[in-house]
């Protein structure tokens, strides 16, 4: 065992010195390789963390949202509609929601005005989201005026600001009382935006949706599962787009690695010939090249992954943020909670380290099994 270890150390010594002879070329390759792993790891780490964050946060959203459709468009829930839903078995709680959008010409951004079911602010007061607080330079007890769609100016007092930690879901929210909401939007009495349902048995949710669709043909039930799938598909798609853009870089690296792997330079061939002539066995030459492939690819993988981790979770993925997150005038500031998927890391390792190590070995094996004399003569 000791002998074997000593032999490997000598092989690594020799490999490193051989690599050092072509320092610029090999360092360039290592750098490109590391950057490639860094980019791929950044995208997968970021997308996975964002997908998990969305799933975790939205797991608490209502089980079913019922919208009413008129001519294919979302319409208000008229009086009496809520009562008709109550007769469907399995529905534990039904609650009409009041919310809408307001375009603020000052910040050129859309806000979501909403009436909370519990602890609504007093009439004339609002609770605002942190991004809105930032963009309008607001503070608690400040006054703010919005011109409603009817042209009237409404002034509100900021009763509170939602916690910054919840910005991912509350950046643009403006919470107000039902009275203020109806007055601001001239919302017809007894009408609501949509209905949130809570279903006692999670296995019953789909049945409730089917019963709803049968009882209220103009209703469009949106299940929590669909909301979660929507977000999973958004981030999957974005990850795919970024990877598609990166595919040019991956391809370029592929060509570089292939070029290095498939055609040995005359110098390298001569080197192998000399090694064999002075008594190296074919196995030793292959082992030496195996160490070369492993040292380069493992170093690139470890450095690339660690750099990607620091980039994503300590520098907010600043390089890929605009494409992966999207953008908006009111953009939430949030720090992603790291979620590393072991399988994802293993896949990344397999697709970055193994092909390179294998690509280095094949031509060496071909050169190493040929006669040293003919190899040296080229």
């Amino acid at each position: 065992m000791k002998l074997w270890l000593a032999k490997q150390r000598y092989l690594i010594d020799f490999t490193l010195l051989a690599l050092a002879r072509r320092k610029t070329r090999n360092l360039g390759l290592l750098l490109v390789y590391t950057v490639l792993v860094f980019m791929l790891a950044s995208v997968t780490l970021y997308s996975h963390a964002l997908r998990q964050e969305a799933a975790r946060v939205l797991a608490a959203s209502p089980e079913v949202i019922v919208q009413r459709m008129v001519a294919g468009r979302h319409d208000l829930i008229p009086p009496g509609y809520l009562e008709r839903i109550g007769r469907i078995r399995g529905v534990q709680m039904r609650e009409a929601r009041l919310w809408g959008y307001y375009y603020d010409a000052v910040t050129k951004a859309n806000y979501t005005f909403m009436v909370p079911a519990e602890n609504a602010p007093a009439a004339g007061e609002i609770v605002v989201g942190p991004a809105l607080e930032r963009s309008r330079g607001l503070a608690k007890n400040n006054g703010i005026s919005f011109r409603s769609y009817s042209g009237k100016l409404h002034t509100f007092v900021i009763a509170d600001v939602l916690p910054q930690a919840s910005e991912l879901v509350s950046a643009d929210l403006v919470l107000m009382s039902e009275e203020s909401f109806r007055a601001f939007f001239d919302y017809p009495a007894g009408h609501y935006t949509d209905i949130a349902l809570s279903v006692a048995n999670p296995l019953e949710v789909r049945n409730v949706a089917l019963k709803l669709a049968a009882a209220l043909p103009d209703a469009r039930p949106i299940l929590r599962d669909e909301v979660l799938r929507t977000y999973a598909s958004i981030f999957d798609w974005r990850e795919g787009i970024v990877l598609a853009l990166l595919s040019a870089a991956i391809l370029a690296f592929g060509i570089l690695a292939w070029d290095k792997a498939s055609g040995l330079s005359a110098e390298e061939k001569r080197e192998i010939g000399i090694l064999k002539a002075i008594g190296w066995e074919t196995g030793d030459v292959i082992k030496m090249k195996f160490w070369e492939g492993l040292l380069v690819s493992l170093t690139a993988f470890l450095l690339g992954f660690v750099a990607a981790y620091v980039h994503v979770f300590h520098f907010a993925a600043s390089l890929f943020e605009p494409v992966l997150k999207g953008w908006a005038v009111l953009y939430p500031r949030f720090q992603l909670t790291p979620q590393i998927d072991g399988l994802q890391v293993a896949t990344l390792f397999f697709f970055t380290v193994v092909p390179y190590a294998a690509a280095v070995l094949v031509p060496i094996w071909k050169a190493a099994i040929t006669d040293p004399d003919s190899v040296m003569r080229g």
């Binding site: 010594d13 946060v57 919208q67 959008y101 919840s166 977000y231 170093t299 470890l302 660690v306 953008w327």
Partner: protein
């Protein structure tokens, strides 16, 4: 003076420790952020929220899971989608999986686009 093999192996071991450190740091940050995540989940439950406030430029991007069927093409039937988020949202499931039809359970986002 140490041998190149020793230096390389020490460097790789350090890189391996940094790699393992990522997992330790992830667990640490995860534990620290648990309170924030619970607060966010509580706010989602309290306000009956359905969407992340990531894309606020249009109503169908602010609440993609709640968007109505034609809002992305609201100007006229052949109108091109013009918000940047729209171009980065995936096409409907039915288009991606040509063999399986779009059923009642398909996502609102799929229908919205």
């Amino acid at each position: 003076m140490s041998r190149p093999a020793d230096r390389a192996l020490i460097f790789l071991a350090l890189a391996g420790i940094a790699f393992a450190g990522c997992f330790v740091d992830a667990a640490r940050l995860h534990a620290t952020a648990a309170g924030d995540a619970n607060g966010m989940a509580a706010l989602v439950a309290q306000l009956r929220l359905t969407d992340l406030a990531l894309f606020t430029e249009a109503r169908y991007t602010r609440h993609p899971s709640q968007a109505d069927l034609h809002s992305a093409f609201q100007d006229h039937p052949l109108a091109q989608e013009h918000f940047p988020t729209g171009s980065l949202i995936s096409p409907p499931a039915g288009l991606l999986q040509a063999t399986s039809g779009v059923g009642a359970g398909d996502t609102a986002m799929g229908e919205a686009k």
